[in-house]
């Protein structure tokens, strides 16, 4: 059976394989029976709360906890000084830096953890925070990343011996000389500065952890909102020195992750310390302000792009310089060898001659993080860069941006394609996908209507000086074409803190033919319990309702690095297919023994080994399962039962791609942008469950609209965080989102056992440039070439007047 054939239906009406299937996990969520972190109550459980810094940069002179300790319901108050005694004041980050669990010497960002209170209930814990007196000596903060390396800038990381500046790393990719050479001979060179502002994943469930340390057995059980339970187990062992076999991490239902729940936060460690100190389980759940102010932000990339081309629009080269704001601790979560993540996929989907990028990472007095919010390890920033640069070029050449892309997209015969920065794209038919999107949008008609609208506006007297005329609005059309590299990753290239990025998977087929699949990855809403059952069904013919997917508990699942970077289907999905195939091979041996024939005499049809030429004779997978556990004599060396396990090390990344078109309406009187239409054509290979894939795309598109138009974490000159609640950090609601128009093309990955490529982040990566390109296009009558996100009414209004803002800093 090929993956495109419709799968047969099970008795319960589910596809035995790929196809639309309602989700198995929904039954509990619909009834309010999900089991999220904060739903868990343990006997004797205490509650923790964190006191946070009101300053961005200050020396700690003294901390007086006596009044808090005297509170009748307080069980413990923990400070950085106490943690120093336990050697727990600092913890390693995922980027070979350290981060303060509780501040000792200085606070380095607004919202940093200073003290931890453990009390009988959550309200008392919060009350006691107000009783702690901390004396600070404020220091000059570094708020603007562009000034972090200036001589005389305050040094943030005085804890690092000999550190004299705020520099973290310099990194480059591509061929500098070849790129410079291309730029020297190019007929056209255009440059553009742009900021991908700091944003936050803000899942609806905030982060939290419950730690329970058994003093007698030395066993630590931690329930945590984590996308990567196994990585957390190893890190707990390394951070807290608890032997790894005594650490069990349970990741219950997760209320959205988007990268926010990859790392270990000080609160998690503090819950462990609280449990050790009090002998009780300790729950810590952050509030929304803590979530927005202290946990992993995303982006904060200041980019300078240059594009070289011929006069007719053939792109020759791209040159990029990035200043990366990593906050006070280098805590990004990405493969170790890549300090800028996969940013060097910035040549994008285009056939160009040379490319080069340089990235410099700096410390600032802001929260740590950097890789989060469904970014595919900074492919988001890369796609934004290249898709804006293509538009800037089209603007310079007065060409239709669709034509510039048509001329430059990689052609199908170029795949597998080694790009100019070292990525081998697996497969693609980009031109086709672009045309499907343009068709679906009715592109030519849109352009015609846009021209008519502009003419009406001008006729009514519309000019940049008098934009508001008779209620005439202006249309903007934006295209983006993205290629992602996901499914990190091949062990030979990728690790996190030395841990290879391969995924384990175990499949047990029970005697009655029902199965359990154990995964190392962890769902946060992506529907793994359904999709992975469908993978096994596809490979073995066991109905998906007979397959239980088990995940989120390190004691009951094999090791693997977790779910982020759209890696679940590319890596763990492959593992599930391979482990199923192992079972299928074993089943063949069992069937041959039972049928008293050679394995060569058997052929597979979904769910059954049958005798070639005698199709009546055969054994179903369920019959084989019983036989495998029974008394049947198996060939020498073949063990009984029907279980298997694998570790899947992907040979390459997978490269999903897509063409997106956004149509916006600009009210020139107010600068208000409304997204009228959004067309998204994705190619993620075959779709295991098209319903789930579409849901993933919908969610990512809303993310994109939010980032492009609304979301930003900005700071004032003192380093105060200005986005600490949903009143200030604006997320898209049902009214900002249009009804999404989706399409698809299918180009399987040649190296993935199922051909699938992953889709979780495609839309988050691909949509922001489409929205921004549309807004800038709407602003064409005003001569605007670029304005930074978020394109709020104020920002658009200023852009119309030729003075768009720096959105990362507050204007006073």
């Amino acid at each position: 059976m090929t993956v495109t054939d419709a799968a047969p239906l099970s008795a319960a009406g589910n596809p035995i394989g790929f196809g639309r299937m309602l989700r198995k996990e929904d039954a509990r969520f619909l009834r309010g029976q999900g089991n999220y972190l904060d739903d868990i109550q343990l006997p004797g459980m205490l509650h923790g709360a964190i006191l946070r810094s009101p300053h961005a940069h200050a020396r700690i002179i003294s901390i007086d906890t006596s009044a808090a300790e005297a509170h009748p319901k307080v069980k413990a108050v923990i400070t950085g000084a106490m943690l120093e005694g336990l050697k727990l004041a600092w913890m390693p980050t995922l980027s070979q830096d350290v981060q303060a669990v509780l501040a000792t010497d200085k606070v380095r960002f607004h919202g940093q953890e200073v003290a931890f209170v453990v009390a009988e209930d959550r309200y008392s814990a919060r009350d006691a925070l107000e009783l702690i007196v901390v004396e600070y000596e404020p220091l000059r903060p570094v708020v603007d990343a562009r000034r972090a390396l200036e001589p005389g800038a305050p040094v943030i990381r005085t804890d690092i011996e000999g550190k004299q500046d705020n520099h973290i790393f310099d990194w480059e990719a591509g061929d500098r000389e070849a790129t410079d050479e291309v730029f020297r001979r190019a007929e056209v060179v255009v440059a553009q500065d742009m900021l991908y502002p700091r944003v936050h994943p803000a899942p609806m469930e905030t982060c939290g952890s419950i730690a329970s340390m058994d003093r007698v057995t030395g066993q630590l059980t931690a329930w945590s909102t984590t996308q990567a339970p196994h990585a957390h187990r190893t890190l707990y062992a390394l951070v807290a020195g608890i032997p790894e076999h005594k650490v069990r991490i349970i990741s219950p239902d997760i209320g959205g992750g988007f990268g926010n729940k990859v790392g270990i936060y000080p609160g998690y460690v503090l819950a462990v310390v609280g449990s050790i100190v009090t002998g009780h389980p300790v729950k810590w759940v952050e509030d929304r302000s803590e979530n927005l102010m202290s946990t992993s932000f995303a982006r904060d990339y200041h980019m300078h792009g240059e594009i070289a081309a011929t006069k007719s629009g053939k792109i020759l080269g791209l040159r990029v310089k990035v200043l990366a704001d990593h906050g006070a601790f280098n805590g990004t979560a990405q493969p170790t060898k890549f300090p800028a993540g996969f940013f060097h996929i910035f040549p994008g989907s285009y056939d160009l001659e040379a490319a080069h990028c340089e990235v410099t990472g700096v410390y600032t007095n802001k929260a740590p993080g950097g890789v989060a919010y469904a970014c595919s390890f900074r492919v988001t920033e890369a796609v934004y860069l290249v898709e804006r640069m293509v538009e800037v070029l089209a603007d310079e050449l007065k060409m239709d941006p669709a034509d510039v892309r048509r001329q430059n997209l990689l052609r199908p015969e170029q795949f597998p394609y080694m790009n100019k920065t070292g990525w081998e794209y697996d497969s693609g038919d980009y031109g086709k996908t672009l045309e499907v999107a343009l068709d679906k949008a009715g592109y030519d008609d849109l352009r015609r209507r846009q021209a008519e609208g502009r003419a009406r506006w001008r006729a009514a007297g519309g000019t940049p000086e008098h934009p508001e005329v008779g209620g005439e609005h202006l249309m903007g059309i934006g295209i983006s074409f993205f290629t992602e590299g996901v499914g990190a990753g091949p062990k030979k290239h990728m690790d996190i803190l030395g841990l290879g990025m391969a995924d384990g998977c175990e499949l047990r087929v029970h005697p009655t033919g029902k199965a359990q699949l154990r995964l190392s990855v962890q769902t946060q809403g992506q529907g793994h319990e359904t999709t992975f059952a469908q993978i096994v069904a596809h490979e073995l013919g066991i109905p998906p309702e007979d397959i239980e997917v088990i995940h989120g508990d390190t004691d009951n699942t094999p090791f693997g690095l977790g779910t982020y970077g759209s890696r679940s289907t590319p890596v763990s999905g492959a593992a599930a297919a391979v482990v199923s195939r192992r079972i299928r091979d074993k089943a063949r041996i069992v069937a041959a023994a039972a049928l008293e024939c050679s394995t060569d005499d058997l052929e597979w049809e979904l769910g059954r080994w049958k005798v070639k030429g005698d199709p009546e004779k055969g054994k179903t997978i369920q019959e084989i399962a019983m036989l495998a556990h029974g008394t049947l004599e198996l060939p020498e060396g073949v063990e009984g039962h029907l279980d298997a396990s694998v570790v899947y090390d992907p040979p390459n990344l997978t490269y999903p791609y897509g063409a997106y078109i956004c149509v916006v309406d600009l009210d020139p009187g107010t600068g208000q942008i409304k997204v009228d239409r959004f067309i998204a054509v994705d190619d993620c290979g075959p779709r295991i469950n098209p319903m789930i894939v579409e849901g993933q795309v919908h969610g990512g598109l809303a993310d994109g609209v939010g980032m492009a138009l609304m979301e930003v974490i900005a700071f004032d000159e003192s380093g105060n965080h200005l986005g600490g609640s949903f009143m200030d950090y604006l997320l898209p609601t049902s009214l900002e989102c249009p009804s999404w128009e989706l399409g698809e093309t299918v180009t399987p990955s040649p190296h993935h056992p199922l051909g699938v490529k992953g889709v979780g982040e495609s839309a988050t990566v691909g949509s922001p440039p489409a929205v921004v390109n549309a807004v800038v296009d709407a602003l064409e009558p005003f001569g605007v070439r670029h304005a930074d996100m978020p394109l709020t009414p104020a920002q658009v209004w200023l852009a119309m007047r030729g003075r768009p803002l720096r959105t990362d800093l507050a204007v006073s």
């Binding site: 009834r31 999900g34 209320g255 929304r288 990512g700 809303a702």
Partner: protein
């Protein structure tokens, strides 16, 4: 202080601190954890339940204010083993992913359909606009509510 209220048809009575929020009361004192909490500023709507037949954000209501009132939570949507059409619609149209916003969304949806059995797409979007979903991009939530509008429960048709 003592508060007494009807919750999903059953009378409950508890001794509470006057400052206890209704969301914490139903979650922690009654164990009805289907109602969620997601923000400090009354913006997210994951905490929506009904008080005297009206959706309220239970993070902005004190348990004390619910004294003597009638509360309905997501746990009270199902009738016996019969899912409410809204629940059915969310399942059929993939209106939920992580499920965290879902109870609040469904409580608003049920209220909308009780008052407007045939809402337009825009009316649905208006109704849920005070609630945030980070996963679905709202598309399938809208479809789920339309599905429920098109498949009313039998007794609703009868009445």
């Amino acid at each position: 202080m003592q508060v007494t209220m009807r919750v999903n048809g059953e009378e409950v009575s508890r001794d509470v601190e006057p400052r206890l929020l209704l969301v914490h009361f139903v979650r922690e004192r009654l164990g009805l954890t289907g109602t969620h909490w997601g923000c400090d500023t009354s913006n997210c709507g994951t905490c929506v339940l009904w008080m005297d037949g009206e959706p309220v954000k239970s993070c902005t209501v004190l348990a004390a204010m619910a004294d003597g009132r009638d509360i309905r939570t997501v746990e009270g949507l199902e009738k016996g083993t019969q899912l409410d059409p809204v629940q059915e619609g969310f399942m059929r149209e993939h209106g939920l992913q992580c499920g965290f916003c879902t109870p609040g969304m469904m409580m608003t949806a049920r209220w909308l359909l009780d008052h407007n059995p045939d809402p337009s797409e825009h009316e649905i979007r208006e109704a849920i606009s005070g609630q945030i979903c980070r996963c679905t991009g709202y598309e399938n939530i809208v479809r789920a509510i339309r599905w429920a509008a098109e498949h009313p429960a039998k007794e609703e048709v009868a009445s």
